[in-house]
Amino acid sequence: MQPIRVSIVEDIIEIREGLKFILQQDNTLILVAAYSNAEDARKGLTEQPPDIVIMDINLPDGSGLGCMQRVKAKHPHIQFMIFTIYEDSEQIFQALSLGASGYLLKNTAPGKIVDALHELHNGGAPMSSTIAKKVILTFQSRPSEGEPESLLSGREQEVLTLLSKGLFYKEIAVQLHISIGTVRQHIHHIYKKLQVQNRTEAINKHFGKSL
């Protein structure tokens, strides 16, 4: 199996070094590069695209989200893992709509960080009940206008509903008679559609203004 190529964007040196250390300890992961500000990250990630970016949002020269959007435009296959101290659902949801595929709290134990990177790379994505509720609201507010590729399938809707009711992945898997891996894949697809939805909305807004 090919190792997963990971880059880091984090301004605080201890944390950056700590993350590097964690990546170096695991031979399924390869550190591509580590950046300490948004501008360097934008250039570096574009020239040297990894599989996954561990992304801090508050950077000294601006928001990591803007940097992520610009890199995503050139390399849509790069997956961004938001790295945050506080579980601020509003901010996390915004990041997810703009193209992030998951988030990690900074005090997550090293072993779990590695697990989360593997899970993301294998097509899974984390989603809390609060985030699931916000996703449902987003799709409800624009039910008919979306492009076909941005509409949720019946199964995806089921998964979302159960998630929003606070069920854990394994409970959803049991209830829907599918594997946990499949639940994760559904959620991964929901994120993608959420981003399409978000893009469509942005385009509609743009045309709405110019008309």
């Binding site: 605080i12 201890e14 944390i15 250390f21 005090n107 009940s129 509720k133």
Partner: protein, 650 residues
């Protein structure tokens, strides 16, 4: 005759405050309407049918009218037809106004406004506002009347129903006349007239002319007043509107009366007399009779004057119009003086005086009543003011409490940070460069935090952001530093402790930030939050979770302190299960009925009775739950059972 002029003013006002309805059709055959009603489906047509039927009953049998309007309302609600509900309200309240049930009328019209806004029905909303204005005008609460009329105005202007528009302007004219602001009154009347002329709406135009005439009469611009009353009379004739014609004539007569021109007002009052009878307008008739009596006296037609005045007095006595009666007595007394019959003259003079006395008494009584009312109002305002003060006082107290709570949290964080700092200095001085020191100078920030926390929520959010950014990133740095230390000194227990401590401090900080932000959280979200917390913690420890909710989750928002206390206690209970119980399963049970309770049960070894019950952790849990007025208990069952009784949040 000042008091007469005042009365006529009131007469015009009552006619001037026009009530708005969508459509008013009378004179239809009730039987055929009833027949139609029994055949029609339960739809919007049926609603209209009920309304029309009610309108047929309105004059002679208002209670039946109310019944049919109510049916229209009920059916409209059933078939979700908001326009129908509004029709019901406008017609129903018109009857309530006639019956003097003004409070109920106001209540319903306010509801109509609400419905109108909800469904974006501009014209009906505007009409409901107009009707509210008319009711307040009738209650002589003029500022309130103006308020509602002005709310209606932009809506009606947008919609462009010219009749409603000009009638509203006319009502505004009336209110400003009531408040003696004649400039504004004239302005509104002119605008009303202009719109009615443009729309070729005779009805509105007639009313506009009468009101404009009234305004000019108030200012004693008699020629202009005369002109507009004449115009109104001509329009009334064209329309066959007896009400309007009568009002125009009486007001015109009064202009001439004020100018002492009996040749002019006599024929006018004679013309008006049969009209007052045909529409049964008693007060109108009183003024006409008085005018004619005055004219006969001035023309020195003593014999006719005497007969007329005696008949008028007999009529007026029946209907208790005391002001007019007083004037009639006076005029009759004057007639007797002129014809040298002094005994009769004195008798009617005395009658005049006694009525005057009664009127004066009534006036005094009224002033006393209004004074009393004002006193009561003042008293109420004082009570409100006192309550307000008390409320502010309690608020200030609770802010102070929160301030101390947060300050003490801040203090704990600072202490622990300083301890850790010195430890780190001792172990790995070279790793701590200047940048990290700056980031960890959290005590400075905390001092700033304390000075800024003067209670404002905004400030709290801003500061929580700062704690989060500065202390949070500092603690995270520390966590990563301790991990790298752990890698080089793998067998050092203190380093391991440091890692755990840093991680748990971050967690605690997040809880503080969460509590400080004080964002409202729904009960449902809170329960989910607890569930995912329990699932994560127990999952990591390899313990099964059974999470159950009995009863339904009401849609309520939990106060910050309530949710924070309950959250911390449940978390502590879960930690205890993980640390001490050796359980393989934990059950968390929410019961939400008339009272709320939460149970945390495990199937482990149980607690060792009295010794642990006084432990520090348990004492804290009990204190937190008592703080939110709940009860905490812990007992041995098949394992340990922590039971919380909580006051329900409504």
């Amino acid at each position: 005759m000042p008091s007469l002029a005042g009365r006529v003013g009131l007469l015009c006002m009552v006619m001037g405050a026009l009530y708005c309805r969508a459509q008013m059709v009378t004179g239809l055959n009730k039987d055929s309407l009833h027949l139609l009603l029994s055949n029609v489906a339960q739809d919007t047509n049926c609603v209209q049918l009920y309304i029309t039927l009610g309108q047929q009953y309105e004059t002679n049998n208002p209670d039946s009218a109310l019944y049919y309007y109510k049916q229209a309302g009920l059916l409209s609600k059933k078939i979700r037809y908001p326009e129908g509900v509004l029709k019901y309200i406008s017609n129903y309240t018109a009857v309530l106004n006639m019956q003097g049930n003004l409070d109920e009328s106001i209540r319903l019209n306010l509801k109509a406004v609400e419905i109108g806004k909800q469904y974006d029905l501009k014209l009906p909303t505007a009409k409901a506002y107009t009707n509210l204005g008319a009711v307040y005008q009738h209650q002589e609460n003029y500022p309130e009347a103006v308020k509602y009329y002005l709310k209606a105005l932009p809506l009606i202007e947008q919609h462009g129903d010219p009749q409603a528009h000009s009638l509203l302007l006319i009502n505004l004219c009336g209110v400003y006349r009531n408040m003696s602001q004649s400039d504004k009154a004239i302005d509104y009347a002119r605008r009303g007239l202009m719109i009615s002329e443009k729309a070729n709406d005779l009805y509105a135009r007639g009313h506009a002319c009468i009101n404009l005439g009234n305004c000019y009469k108030d200012r004693t611009y008699n020629e202009e007043a005369e002109l507009y009353y004449r115009k109104a009379e001509a329009i009334a004739l064209q329309l066959g509107d007896v009400n309007m014609q009568e009002t125009a004539l009486i007001n015109l007569g009064n202009v001439y009366l004020a100018l002492n021109l009996p040749e002019k007002y006599m024929p006018i009052f004679y013309n008006a007399l049969p009209l007052t009878d045909s529409i049964g307008d008693i007060s109108g008739k009183a003024f006409v009779l008085l005018g004619i009596g005055d004219g006969l006296f001035r023309k020195q037609r003593w014999k006719e004057a005497e007969t007329h005045l005696q008949q008028s007095i007999a009529f007026i006595r029946q209907h208790g119009q005391k002001e007019v009666l007083q004037k009639l007595y006076q005029t009759l007394s004057d007639v007797y003086v002129a014809t040298h019959r002094f005994d009769q003259a004195r008798m009617f003079r005395e009658l005049h005086d006694s009525v005057e006395l009664t009127l004066m008494n009534e006036d005094i009584l009224q002033s006393v009543q209004s004074l009393e009312a004002e006193y009561k109002l003042q008293q109420k305002q004082n009570e409100l003011l006192t309550k307000d003060l008390e409320l502010q006082h309690t608020r200030a107290e609770s802010m102070q409490r929160q301030y101390w709570l947060i300050a003490s949290y801040g203090g704990v964080v600072v202490l622990v940070l300083m301890l850790l700092l010195s430890y780190l200095f001792y172990r790995q001085r070279q790793l701590l460069n200047k940048q990290t020191i700056a980031k960890l100078e959290a005590d400075q920030h905390t001092v700033r935090l304390q000075s800024l926390l003067k209670g404002q929520q905004q400030e709290r959010v801003r500061i929580s952001q700062e704690i989060h950014d500065d202390i949070g990133s500092g603690l995270t740095s520390m966590l990563f530093i301790s991990r790298s230390l752990d890698a080089s000194f793998a067998d050092d227990k203190l380093v391991k402790k440091l890692t755990v401590l840093a991680s748990s401090l971050i967690e605690k900080m997040n809880e503080i930030v969460w509590a400080m932000r004080g964002e409202p959280e729904l009960l449902e979200d809170f329960v989910l939050h607890l569930r995912s917390l329990a699932g994560d913690l127990l999952g990591d420890a390899g313990i099964d979770l059974d999470f159950r909710i009995e009863g339904t989750l009401p849609e309520v928002t939990l106060p910050t302190e309530y949710r924070h206390s309950v959250y911390l206690v449940i978390k502590e209970a879960i930690h205890n299960c993980i640390k001490h119980s050796k359980a393989s399963q934990v059950t968390i049970l929410f019961r939400l009925a008339s009272s709320w309770s939460i149970d945390v049960l495990d199937n482990g070894v149980g607690i060792a009775g009295s010794t642990t019950a006084t432990g520090n952790g348990l004492r804290n849990m009990r204190k937190r739950i008592t703080y939110v007025h709940g009860q905490f208990s812990i007992s041995n069952e098949k394992g340990t059972r922590v039971h919380l009784e909580l006051p329900p949040v409504v």
